[in-house]
């Protein structure tokens, strides 16, 4: 059994855990098994395909650790904040603000499954282990990953800080990062606890989805605002500490730099510093007390939620009746429509992109707004930024083949389905109408309000492009049956395959832009798209029915 380095580090804190009433030996054993399982997540499926290969220890590599470099890049991007000067309270608070956002989103999207794992209850809960140890194991499990994550984000800023501002800066930075992690972890858990206490499990699962959309939007906007802030605000402007700033957590972590490095004796800074140190520690203490209660409420997740979806799906049936397609297409349209709405993991993967798609067109217009003003928008060609709202299409199409219950795909093979194209067409249609169409309508309405009714023909042409785009994405990406593969096989490299499609979206937009310079160009473009649509919707699916 592998002895993980993180566990060796953990051993040093043994005394601390025992003081908290945790059975350390058991805790360590649980963590060891958990880490081992994480490392295996992907290979276990792959080894199924290779005969007997699973006998030998298949190569174990932690998927999560492999994707850390992305966070490293994020960290590198935020390094300038450290270099900008020595207005520590300002720079470091901003930096911690960004870091808190990033860790919080990562925690909610990637580690909710660990915090909310109910398998643990059946397997560990029935064993003679006290609940405190079980919940602590869970917490430490997540915390180990958070440390890796923060390490990846923080490594470059830390090194830059060390070189530029010295050892003390580095030490304070590191300590504050760890405290921040604790705070973020506890905040997330508390949020779950609150939701679980008052709602049932289904609600919580839905909430996670909405929180994700919300976060992607907030972060994107937040980033934009921050950058803008720096355009206007002179960095040398003295930062005036005010009492209400005690409400803003990142300030707590920025204040120690002022107190310890600059020797500031402003009582407010000292209060902030104390908050930054005491609140996380206090939070952890409360958390340890409350954790068993969270565990107890987790049982709700296991119980069937009271879903009142009586009959339901009026839209689904209504639309299915309207669609000019065959009966099997309609059947798969309704099926995919329901699956998209219920498949938890699908939503987890797709909804963040949904947030991006909603916000991106506006972000770009917003960037230009300063030059032209709200009134000046009419008559410009900025409305073509609406093409950005098709960003989510490739991701959706890519994700359609995965399901948490992929094994149920036997139904495709046992049912008398003559033509696979019906499956594909129905599914892509459902994705298009359920996920893309609402965004399209929402953005179009807003754009008409911003740019005037004159752009309506352009929006219709864009509508034609956005119906063509999923078909092309489908033909290019996946020929697998929908909902037929486990999410675990979704590889990082798949994401790379999307890039050409995103470029294609750019081409669509550019051609449109070009067409606006030719008289009747947009209409001609529209007709071409219409023809392409009819051809591809008819052909693309049957030719791809190879597998």
């Amino acid at each position: 059994m592998k002895n993980y380095k993180s566990l060796l580090v953990l051993d040093r804190f043994r005394g601390l855990f025992e003081k908290a009433g945790v059975d350390y030996a058991v805790l360590r054993r649980i963590l060891q098994v958990k880490l081992m399982m994480d490392a295996r997540r992907v290979p276990s499926f792959m080894s199924k395909n290779r005969k007997h290969a699973d006998r030998q220890e298949a190569k174990e590599s932690n998927n999560f650790l492999g994707s850390l470099w992305i966070y490293g890049i994020f960290g590198a991007f935020s390094t300038p904040f450290i270099l900008l000067g020595d207005n520590y309270i300002f720079q470091m608070s901003l930096l911690f603000g960004i870091f808190m956002f990033m860790t919080l989103t990562a925690l909610i999207s990637d580690f909710s499954s660990v915090l909310l794992d109910i398998r643990d209850r059946n397997i560990l809960g029935t064993k003679p282990i006290d609940s405190r140890t079980i919940s602590m194991a869970k917490t430490v499990h997540v915390f180990i990953y958070m440390l890796f994550l923060t390490g990846a984000i923080g490594i470059i800023p830390l090194v830059v800080g060390l070189l530029n501002h010295g050892v003390l800066f580095f030490a304070v930075f590191l300590l504050m990062l760890i405290l921040m992690d604790l705070l973020v972890l506890v905040l997330t858990a508390m949020l779950y606890l609150a939701v679980l206490r008052f709602f049932d499990g289904e609600k919580l699962k839905d909430m996670i989805n909405y929180v994700q959309i919300g976060f992607t939007i907030v972060i994107t906007i937040g980033y934009q605002l921050l950058i803008r802030l720096f355009d206007f605000v002179n960095l040398d402007v003295a930062f005036q500490p005010k009492w209400w700033q005690a409400m803003i957590a990142p300030i707590w972590f920025g204040a120690p730099f002022e107190v310890l490095l600059k020797g500031s004796r402003d009582p407010l800074y000292i209060v902030f510093t104390l908050l930054g140190i005491l609140v996380p520690i206090l939070a952890i203490a409360i958390y340890i007390k409350l954790m068993p209660s969270l565990e107890r409420n987790l049982q709700k997740l296991a119980d069937p939620g009271e879903r009142s979806g009586k009959g339901g799906g009026g839209w689904k049936r209504f639309l299915a009746r309207l669609l000019p397609v065959g009966r099997q297409e309609k059947a798969f349209f309704r099926f995919a429509w329901t699956m998209i709405g219920h498949e938890r993991e699908f939503k987890l993967k797709v909804y963040p992109t949904l947030g991006f798609s909603l916000i991106f067109p506006f972000i770009f217009i917003f960037t230009q707004l300063r030059d032209v003003g709200l009134k000046g928008l009419q008559g410009t060609k900025l409305y073509l930024f609406i093409y950005f709202c098709a960003l989510l299409v490739p991701t959706i199409i890519m994700m359609l083949r995965y399901s948490g219950r992929h094994k149920a795909a036997w139904i495709y093979h046992t049912a008398p389905i003559a033509e696979r194209s019906a499956i594909y067409r129905g599914t892509v249609l459902a994705a298009l109408i359920r996920l893309v169409l609402p965004i399209y309508i929402l953005e179009s309405v807003t754009f008409v309000l911003l740019f005037g009714a004159a752009i309506i023909p352009d929006l219709i042409v864009f509508g034609l492009a956005i119906t063509l785009y999923p078909v092309i994405s489908f033909a290019y990406l996946s020929k697998a049956l929908p909902f037929s593969e486990p999410f675990e096989v979704a590889q990082q490299s798949e994401g790379m395959r999307i890039i050409p499609l995103l470029l294609l979206l750019g081409v669509f937009g550019l051609v449109h832009l070009g067409a606006t310079f030719v008289s009747y160009g947009v209409y001609i473009y529209g007709v071409i798209l219409l023809i392409l649509n009819t051809v591809t919707w008819r052909r693309a699916f049957s030719s791809s029915a190879v597998k």
Binding site: V33, S47, T126, K127, D130
Partner: protein, 291 residues
């Protein structure tokens, strides 16, 4: 090979009879009980304003195989989960091995084995790793747990799959691992929820026999299942739950006398007030044939 098998079968047969005798003795002892292992008094449980348990009273003594039966949603699993400390917030008194799950006590779990209805396991582990881990959680050393787990699985014909990940196992293989993991630490009470599901006919015989021997050795077995034939055969006491209440409690013979029906299945139907199976089946088929 054949000789060995017939020899084994003979041995099993002899053992079988002996066990049956012992079991009958055990059943007689029941009349003068000592200290109950499990005692439940007026247990009530409410989920979202709906009572799933409406006052359960129950005492269980060593050496009993209790067939715990009832229609879907009668509250069987909930009772078991309460006893295991998985579900909290109940009213009434529950004592298992002298401890109450309400106090947050965990020591009594050391003497309990549990096979849940859904085969939930850490299935990215191999059987060897899983059993070692579970054994350790019950306080065994890793070496003991592994050694014992390996020999037990070999007995069930899974020796070849020890180092294969559980995720690749068939349903029956998983079930064997679950059963083994529930017995590794030699518990005094066993909670089994459909323990035979997915097992082939031969393995079913082994497990049934295994339960009989365990009970003869003084273990208490709490057996929930929907397969009435099995419950009828192996249980020394049958408890029938309906609507969160115990509607019958006694040996199979006692239940038979009471309801004047031939099989446990019929008794079950009668006591739960279900007698329209024929009508439903006919209706069902007529709908099937509509197309």
């Amino acid at each position: 090979m054949k000789q060995v098998r017939s020899l084994i079968e003979k041995t099993i047969h002899i053992l079988d009879n002996r066990i049956r005798n012992i079991r009958n003795e055990g059943a007689e002892e029941m009349n003068e009980p000592g200290q109950p292992l499990i005692s439940i008094r007026d247990l009530r449980m409410k989920f979202e304003n709906k009572y799933v348990l409406n006052g359960i009273d129950l005492e269980v003594y060593p050496g009993q195989i209790i067939g715990y039966i009832g229609p879907n949603g009668a509250g069987k699993s909930t009772t078991v989960k309460i006893m295991l400390g998985l579900v909290e917030g109940y009213d009434g008194e529950v004592r298992v091995l002298g401890q109450s799950p309400k106090d947050g006590a965990v020591d009594y779990k050391r003497r309990i084995g549990y096979v849940p209805e859904i085969a939930e396991m850490y299935d990215t582990l191999t059987a060897r790793e899983y059993l070692t881990f579970i054994g350790e959680l019950y306080g065994m050393t890793a070496e003991d747990a592994e050694w014992k787990g390996r020999r037990l699985l070999e007995q069930l014909g899974l020796g070849h799959a020890l180092d294969t990940r559980i995720a690749t196992y068939s349903k029956g293989m998983k079930q064997k691992v679950l059963i083994t993991s529930s017995l590794l630490h030699n518990p005094d009470i066993l909670f089994l929820d459909e323990p035979l599901s997915g097992l082939d006919a031969n393995s079913v015989m082994v497990v049934k026999e295994l339960l009989a021997i365990l009970a003869a050795n003084g273990k208490t077995i709490f057996y929930s299942s929907h397969i009435m034939e099995v419950v009828e055969k192996i249980s020394s006491r049958i408890i029938l739950l309906d609507g969160g209440r115990i509607v019958a409690d006694g040996t199979f013979e006692e239940l038979k006398d009471r309801s004047q029906e031939g099989s446990l299945e019929q008794i079950f139907n009668q006591l739960t007030g279900f007698n329209e199976h024929r009508a439903i089946a006919e209706q069902f088929v007529s709908i099937v044939q509509e197309v």
